[in-house]
């Protein structure tokens, strides 16, 4: 029955793959970036799932925990730190991608991949 314990990872993997699918199957440049966002957010879910301990609390030391005689169980703070950084990287990438999309639209008049390719080939 050990595999039942993995449902959280599998949920994250399913979400990742739906994001990945949007990125590689869609031709619309904005939709691709939306897919990229889903993809990376789901990877964050995978990381945070790894750091979770059942029955633990958020890794913030409270006054009550400091005074109590039994040690408090905390979830692993390191994945949280890594994901904070990764979220920032994600939004930065989205922003640059959108800036390119806007410029592409100005120069080509479309943000559909196949139409862009057709316009490049016709020249």
């Amino acid at each position: 029955m050990t595999w039942v314990g993995h449902y959280n990872y599998w949920g994250a993997i399913f979400l990742m793959m739906s994001g990945f699918y949007v990125v590689i199957s869609r031709g619309n440049l904005i939709k691709k970036l939306i897919g990229l966002n889903i993809f990376s957010t789901s990877v964050f879910l995978l990381y945070i799932s790894m750091g979770k301990i059942k029955g633990a609390t958020a890794p913030i030391l409270t006054e009550a925990a400091r005074l109590s005689p039994t040690p408090q169980l905390y979830s692993n703070p390191l994945p949280h730190v890594l994901i904070l950084t990764a979220i920032v990287v994600g939004v930065a990438t989205t922003a640059v991608g959108l800036a390119l999309t806007v410029r592409i639209n100005e120069r080509y008049g479309t943000i559909e991949e196949d139409e862009i390719r057709a316009k490049d080939d016709s020249l």
């Binding site: 039942v4 990742m16 793959m17 590689i24 897919g35 799932s49 920032v88 120069r107």
Partner: protein
């Protein structure tokens, strides 16, 4: 109970993701992405990652949505149907997904306390950081001190994105003659001052902005004790200015904070962060070794974390507003 919430949220996330795949109206897809971020923020809370949840809510639901809408407003609001069935894409995704599931087989079950990940490096952060570094929020300690260099990298990433946006979007506006703009369905969301006509929005906005800014300052300086810190504070502060600019128009907002001032602020925040690191070297420690900043190491840590969080907050605020300005300013040409 926890497990139930967890499974319900995961189910909601899966439904949202399916809807995003299916829907062809970009506006709806972007809104659903905002919901997706908010749901995952809730899931982060149930998994004890409150700082991450806070950031995801501020960035994923707030800034990303605004930027996506800003770009959509200048392009096209409807996605065209692809001419072919993406069977190859489906195959790639299925293979990748199966490999990943195969890979999780040897991972310890979700939530086990004696997994390798919890035994090696993490215990020191949990047990020693309140003594060695100081802040009760261990995430802040790790973020700003143990792995402070990653956070410098993160600040640099945000700075890069801002510079990249200005560089790309300030290029001379050259419209291709062949490009016939699709008037139908072109919907400008960040149209300056359209919201100004709505009395209720204007009054409520006016009332809210001071509180948003105040809250941002609270998040900035309270990050040691609770969830929050420079990054979240910067985003919230920026959202206050963005709201202001949506209600009172881009020009008014640019008079309050000019793009040049923002660029200087963005650079200054990054320089402050690096400066703290160099100061530590001058005081005889390693780069970013805050212990050297004061006579008592813990005081030094406190001062160091305060300064770098300030640097992060400044840069993030300045760059977020810069990005918004860049998109909306460009948007004026196209409409």
């Amino acid at each position: 109970m926890e497990t139930t919430i967890d499974i319900v949220l995961l189910t909601f996330l899966c439904i949202t993701a399916m809807a995003i795949i299916h829907i062809r109206k970009l506006f709806c897809a972007i809104m659903l992405l905002g919901i997706f971020s908010l749901l995952s923020a809730c899931l982060f809370v149930t998994m004890d990652a409150v700082d991450v949840a806070f950031t995801e809510a501020a960035v994923g639901t707030g800034i990303s949505t605004i930027l996506l809408l800003g770009a959509m407003g200048q392009t096209n609001a409807h996605e065209k149907r692809p001419p072919y069935q993406p069977i190859l894409a489906l195959l790639v995704v299925l293979v990748t997904g199966s490999i990943l599931i195969y890979g999780t087989m040897d991972l310890p079950a979700f939530g086990t306390p004696d997994a390798a990940i919890h035994l090696h490096v993490a215990p020191r952060y949990i047990q020693q950081s309140p003594i060695e570094v100081g802040p009760p929020n261990m995430v802040t300690s790790v973020l700003a001190s143990y792995r402070g260099y990653d956070t410098l990298g993160e600040t640099a990433v945000i700075f890069t994105a801002g510079i990249a946006l200005v560089a790309l979007l300030s290029a001379p506006y050259k419209k291709n003659e062949l490009a016939v703009k699709n008037e139908q369905g072109s919907l400008s969301t960040i149209q300056p001052a359209t919201l100004h006509d709505h009395l209720i929005l204007r009054i409520i906005g006016k009332m809210f902005i001071p509180f948003i800014l105040l809250f941002a300052l609270y998040v900035q300086f309270h990050g040691d004790y609770g969830p929050g810190g420079g990054f979240q504070a910067g985003v919230i502060f920026a959202s206050g200015i963005i709201l202001y600019s949506l209600i009172f128009g881009l020009d008014t907002a640019m008079r309050v904070i000019s793009p040049t001032a923002l660029r200087l602020l963005g650079a200054a925040g990054l320089i402050l962060y690096i400066g703290v690191g160099i100061l530590c070297i001058l005081n005889g420690g390693n780069f970013l070794d805050y212990n050297t900043l004061a006579s008592r190491p813990v005081d030094g840590q406190h001062l160091g974390i305060f300064l770098i969080e300030l640097g992060v907050g400044t840069t993030v605020f300045a760059i977020m507003v810069t990005m918004f300005y860049a998109f909306s300013f460009r948007g004026r040409h196209s409409t």
